[in-house]
């Protein structure tokens, strides 16, 4: 009996967690946009630092995991940083409306970033700089494959 309840609650929990519709946010849209832009910038900084190590411009092998984990942890919240009501129709943002009209595609792109950054974490722990470089390129491609359909490119 107890087990049955456990299974039912597990199923309910999973269903809730998996429902794809972005919930509206209680926060001011401007603040959500400001936060996610800073989060993206933080990810860019970590990727830039990881690349310097990967390219051999600086010898900081002990930082490889730090940047990989930061990218992965930041990436885990990316999808949640785009709640309904924070698109360009409501607030000044470089986000394209397709984020919400093609939400499944957007979630898949966000998930791809998590996958590639998890691989970067795994590679970082081996200390193999060449493999780390190859994987930072993969992470970069994951960024680009989401920016391409979903971000308005600024001129500078």
């Amino acid at each position: 009996m107890r087990l049955r309840w456990l299974v039912i609650s597990a199923v309910c929990f999973t269903t809730t967690a998996w429902s794809a519709d972005p919930a509206p946010s209680p926060d001011a849209p401007e603040k959500v946009v400001a936060y996610r832009e800073k989060a993206m910038k933080a990810a860019a900084n970590h990727l830039g630092l990881a690349s310097m190590i990967a390219k051999g411009e600086i010898h900081r092998p002990s930082d490889m995991t730090l940047h990989a984990e930061a990218l992965h942890d930041l990436g885990a919240s990316f999808a949640a940083l785009f709640p309904e009501g924070t698109g360009p129709d409501k607030v000044k943002s470089e986000s394209k409306p397709d984020i919400w009209t093609q939400h499944d595609k957007f979630l898949a792109a966000a998930a791809a970033f998590e996958t590639e950054t998890q691989k970067l974490v795994d590679v970082a722990k081996t200390g193999d700089v060449a493999a780390y470089k190859a994987q930072t390129d993969k992470v970069g491609q994951a960024c680009g494959s989401c920016h391409e359909p979903f971000r308005v490119e600024d001129e500078h």
Binding site: G48, S51, G140, S145, E153, E155
Partner: protein, 253 residues
């Protein structure tokens, strides 16, 4: 590939829309089908790329960047022809261009050719240019045709050579200034960007440039990317458009 493949259509079968201030131009079908290049000869392709004319002799609109492709070598055009013949034929009729503004006027193409298409054939090469620089010049100016999007154009659409590669805020996409005046990137920054789309500050380009990297520069050899870097770092630095334009000399190199 980017300009000849619609987002959800068969590759190389055309239909990609290039929005410009002269209207919307659609890339044609390049596959060897009756809607594409079936019936073309190698010479037809050479003429299209080198002279910007169709097999019937009419002039193409400059959305087809033949002002750059004119510099392609016969050997590369031959290779391109051999490659196009290997594509699976796709039946997809070409979409007519939707021209606007000056492009609707009679003689618009002829006018553009007069001002925007005069340097044909092999690129000029300074006698002291090294092999890497010359290769880079060829890749940037002919093959990758960077200047077609990254240079400002005049009212009739001619690339303004004095501000070549200094950026263009017009559609299809705002393309930034990529001269050393705006991008003080070292060779490693360039090759990494052309391979991955990642800028030195860790941002990753999206938009049109993402596709240029995905379908183009990421598939080049590392030597070719290094050659492009050498050339791009050597072009005359240009500041922002407001800078004293008049004082600058003719030509970027």
């Amino acid at each position: 590939m980017s300009c000849h493949s619609a987002p959800n259509g068969p590759p190389w079968a055309g239909g990609y829309a290039i929005e410009t201030r002269f209207g919307t131009f659609y890339g044609p079908n390049l596959t060897p089908s009756s809607d594409g290049l079936a019936g073309w000869t190698a010479e037809d392709l050479r003429r299209a790329l080198r002279d910007g004319r169709s097999p019937e002799g009419h002039a193409y609109w400059p959305a087809f960047p033949y002002a750059s492709y004119t510099h392609l070598t016969d050997a590369d055009i031959g290779d391109l022809w051999a490659f196009l013949a290997t594509l699976p034929p796709a039946l997809q009729a070409d979409q007519p261009h939707a021209r606007k503004g000056v492009a609707t006027l009679p003689g618009a193409v002829a006018a553009w050719r007069l001002v925007g298409f005069h340097d044909r054939g092999p690129l000029p090469s300074p006698s002291d240019a090294g092999e890497l620089w010359t290769r880079g010049q060829y890749l940037v100016e002919a093959v990758a045709h960077c200047g077609e999007c990254h240079s400002p154009r005049s009212a009739v659409g001619a690339v303004q050579s004095r501000r070549a590669l200094a950026g263009n805020d017009q559609p299809p996409a705002p393309a930034p200034n990529i001269t050393p005046g705006a991008l003080p990137w070292d060779a490693g920054d360039w090759t990494h960007f052309l391979a991955s789309g990642m800028t030195p500050d860790g941002d990753v380009t999206g938009g049109e440039m993402y596709r240029v990297i995905r379908d183009g520069t990421s598939r080049l050899s590392e030597d070719d990317r290094a050659a492009m870097a050498t050339y791009l770092r050597s072009v005359r630095p240009r500041g922002e458009p407001a800078a004293s334009d008049e004082e600058e000399e003719e030509e970027a190199w």
